[in-house]
């Protein structure tokens, strides 16, 4: 499971390769805890579907993104 809560349960973590299936659990977590930040520093690869949930939900992001390409080209769209 590459979408998880951190130990304290307040931050949502994206870890490793985040495939298309991660979109659904990420969406559920965001709905369950509105306002929870998303930490993507450990994310190795981000699927478009997961990015779409982030764009739609606009959580606060803890960066930089672990996927350098995403950090360089996509992160600016989330500022």
């Amino acid at each position: 499971m590459s979408v998880q809560r951190d130990d304290g349960g307040t931050t949502i973590l994206l870890v490793g390769k985040c495939p298309v299936e991660d979109a659904e659990p990420l969406l559920q977590l965001l709905q369950a805890t509105p306002g929870a930040p998303v930490d993507w520093t450990q994310c190795g690869h981000l699927h478009t579907a997961v990015l779409q949930v982030i764009l739609a939900g606009r959580p606060a992001l803890v960066g930089p993104c672990g996927d350098p390409w995403v950090e360089q080209w996509v992160a600016a769209n989330l500022l």
Binding site: T48, Q52, A56
Partner: protein, 770 residues
């Protein structure tokens, strides 16, 4: 509407006309490089101006058309009828948009879709012929090399990503290419990862990810339905990108970014209509406006308009940095209510743009400096755009002056009657003559301002004839003569409708099918001639066809069927007068009603319209050889020549154009025919009507003399003699329509003021004689 917009509208119409003419020439006379080149340049300039006034939809459409024409020009494509038809359709679309823009200062909301559909159709023609083209032809020519103004989405993308691009590109002055990728909603289910595709784009400079439709609340979000639009700019080549997106060609748009292409444009046009030159010209014009307007009361409006126009132009020229400077300066100038700040910003922008011109191109460099800035000034001294209302005010004043002058004539006559041939009387007469001459000259000069060439009307017809002859499957050539003949704008403006009816009639009824022509021993290709000429103070416009002519027998039969004229009268009419009946209301010679003409309203509308402006319509036809319809019109409708006559003790004005001659009749020439008096004039019996009787006035004292005075009038082909008691005068007057309570009185064309202050009623003979 600001001056830039007005100019754009006028220029766009001019260019559309020009492109239409050249396209017709291409079609009729075949392909010639310089002709295609002219068409191309017209489209190119149109596209440029569309960019300046910020009409991206128009730009997209024209850009696609331009690509197509460029391919033809380069010899990669043949100008097939399908392509020419599509080019015409494109011009029609643009013409409609120009009309919309004139009315609402913007394009209709669906313009974007229309633009995309039109551009798609144009590109389809391009790609279809391209795949048929021999192997080895360079596909890339289709887009990047000929690109000029960017499509709207590219402009927006460039604008929003400017910092990114300049930050990353460094010295990237090579080809840039933009893409817009809207993945299919279900793409995630197919295993697609759109970002993965974009990761493969070489030389990415900027990426923008946004929602296609606004995001719903998270509870309603379907995480597996893709709602993204991914747009980016890269230094790669068009072909490389196309290859990356080859599996999703329907979801992606790729376009060259015109940074580099603009340089091509400049080389191609040698500064004539190039983007940078256009931008400079717009800037220079704004500077000119501000220099003139600095003392003006409504300066704030002018400042705002100038800053906006210059800003738009600079954005279009891809200098948003300068545009921002201008807009800042504009705001500063507005708050200071002085143009100084904006002026200096304009100067700086102009200087910066001159610096932009490629150093290796001395011609362009020279053209872009002070010489450029001078241009609007020179143009301004050549032509002046004046509101029609102001000219009309002048025309009215000059008309009043002529009335006042007539008053002096009356005074001079009274003086002569009272003091005899005294020095004073002669001096007044001399002064009157001088004023008369000057007033006449002034009136003529002012009317000259309203004179426009009939070419303005004629030029719509080549296209019309082309389209309609194609539809009717007839071969028709349109020849025009005398387009430079001038007439009052009011006359020329009203000519279009009657000419349209006439040309339609000629095409539909007059011209035979190619087979019929062949079997009649005629050339298969028919000719319709439109000619204008000046005959005395009349404008004569003729529409001539070499078709089947009008058969008097058919006209007779139909006139009888429709009860247009009494049978006796019909039998008495000679053939040449019979064909005049086609102008009667409810007459139609077409066996069947077609969608082009022939609802039985055409010809009577022609006559009515022409008569309303003081003209006459007549027809001549040789059965089997062709028909000529002649419109005889006044050169201007501001001044009418009238005859002042006396009948039943009253004075009336009678328009001279209705009177063909005046005849003094001895008793012996008048014979009693039925209940009416009549006389024979050149082998023709002319009935005599008394004007006093017609106006229900007591008959005047029986004339002592043995002669009776009649005016011979011809109205709608019917000759009548109007008996009057005396002719008083012939005058040129300004006719005022009846107003107020009298506005609906029938029988009067209007009123005019006589020199002695009396009001003269001018008759509408057509109504009176009915």
């Amino acid at each position: 509407m600001n001056a830039l917009h007005e100019q754009f509208i006028a220029e766009a119409r001019e260019l559309i006309h020009q492109a239409t003419d050249d396209l017709i020439a291409v079609e009729r006379e075949g392909f010639a490089p310089e002709r295609i080149d002219r068409v191309f340049r017209a489209f190119h300039t149109l596209k440029g101006s569309a960019g300046v006034v910020d009409l991206p939809a128009m730009g997209v459409t024209l850009h696609a058309a331009e690509d197509l024409l460029a391919a033809i020009h380069a010899g990669k494509l043949e100008a097939t009828p399908a392509i020419i038809d599509q080019a015409f359709a494109c011009l029609d679309q643009v013409a409609r948009w120009v009309n919309d823009f004139e009315v609402g200062a913007s394009l209709p909301p669906h313009a974007g879709e229309e633009a995309r559909a039109m551009a798609g159709a144009l590109r389809h023609l391009l790609s279809r012929t391209e795949t048929e083209a021999p192997a080895g032809s360079d596909r890339e020519v289709s887009a990047p090399a000929t690109a000029g103004a960017p499509p709207a989405w590219v402009s927006r993308l460039l604008e929003s990503q400017r910092r990114q691009i300049t930050g990353h590109a460094g010295d990237a002055r090579g080809d840039l290419v933009a893409f817009s990728y809207e993945p299919d909603r279900g793409c995630f289910f197919n295993g697609d990862d759109p970002l993965q595709l974009i990761r493969q784009v070489p030389g990415l400079l900027a990426l923008q990810v946004e929602a296609r439709e606004p995001w719903p609340a998270l509870a309603e979000l379907d995480p597996f339905a893709c709602n993204l639009r991914l747009q980016g700019i890269a230094t790669g080549r068009h072909a490389e990108l196309a290859n990356i997106f080859r599996l999703v060609p329907d979801q992606v748009r790729i376009a060259a970014v015109p940074l580099a292409a603009m340089r091509l444009d400049q080389e191609r046009d040698a500064g004539e209509s190039d983007t940078a030159g256009l931008v400079r010209a717009v800037l220079a014009e704004q500077r000119q406006v501000l220099l003139v307007a600095d003392q003006d009361e409504d300066i704030s409006g002018r400042l705002g308009a100038a800053a906006r126009a210059a800003g738009n132009a600079l954005r279009y020229g891809l200098r948003p940095d300068l545009a921002q400077d201008i807009e800042r300066a504009g705001a500063a100038a507005l708050s200071a209510r002085s143009a100084a700040a904006l002026l200096s910003a304009l100067e700086q922008a102009l200087a910066a743009l001159v610096g932009d011109a490629p150093a290796g191109d001395p011609a362009l460099g020279a053209a872009s400096g002070p010489a450029r800035a001078q241009e609007p000034e020179r143009a301004a001294s050549r032509a002046l755009r004046v509101d029609e209302v102001k000219i009309d005010a002048l025309v009215n004043l000059a008309g009043e002056l002529i009335v006042a002058k007539n008053g002096i004539a009356h005074l001079a006559k009274r003086l002569q009657d009272e003091v005899g041939d005294h020095d004073l009387a002669r001096a007044v007469r001399r002064e009157h003559d001088t004023i008369e001459r000057l007033a006449g000259e002034m009136h003529a000069a002012i009317l000259q301002l309203r004179m426009v060439p009939v070419a303005q009307v004629f030029r719509s017809f080549p296209r019309l004839v082309r389209d309609m002859s194609q539809r009717l499957e007839k071969k028709v050539r349109l020849v025009t003569h005398g387009e430079t003949t001038e007439s009052d704008k009011a006359v020329v403006d009203r000519l279009f409708e009657p000419l349209l009816h006439l040309v339609r009639n000629a095409l539909d009824h007059g011209i035979e099918s190619p087979e019929q022509r062949r079997s009649a021993g005629k050339d298969e290709g028919a000719t319709i001639t439109m000619q204008a000429s000046r005959v005395g103070d009349r404008l004569v416009v003729e529409v001539v066809d070499d078709g089947r002519g009008i058969d008097p027998a058919i006209v007779r039969r139909r006139a009888r069927e429709r009860g247009i004229i009494a049978d006796d009268d019909l039998a008495a009419l000679p053939d040449e007068q019979v064909i005049d009946l086609i102008f009667s209301a409810g007459f139609s010679t077409a066996a069947e009603v077609s969608d082009i003409s022939g609802r039985g309203v055409g010809m009577d509308v022609v006559r009515a319209t022409v008569e309303r402006i003081g003209g006459r319509a007549s027809v001549m036809s040789r059965f089997g050889a062709g028909t000529t319809v002649r419109l005889d019109l006044p050169m201007n409708i501001a001044l009418s020549r009238i005859m002042v006559v006396e009948a039943g003790g009253q004075m009336f004005g009678i328009p001279m154009d209705a009177v063909t001659e005046t005849v003094r009749l001895g008793r012996d020439r008048i014979s009693r025919i039925k209940n009416n008096d009549g006389f024979v004039l050149r082998d023709r019996v002319v009935p005599i009507c008394s004007l006093a009787e017609l106006m229900k006035l007591p008959a005047g004292p029986t004339p002592a003399a043995d002669t009776r005075l009649v005016l011979v009038t011809e109205i709608s082909g019917k000759v009548t003699a109007l008996e009057i008691d005396a002719i008083q005068d012939r005058l040129e007057v300004v006719l005022k329509p009846l107003q107020g309570l009298l506005a609906n009185a029938r029988g009067y064309a209007g009123t005019t003021l006589l020199g002695d202050g009396r009001v003269l009623l001018v008759l509408d003979l057509k109504e009176v004689l009915q």
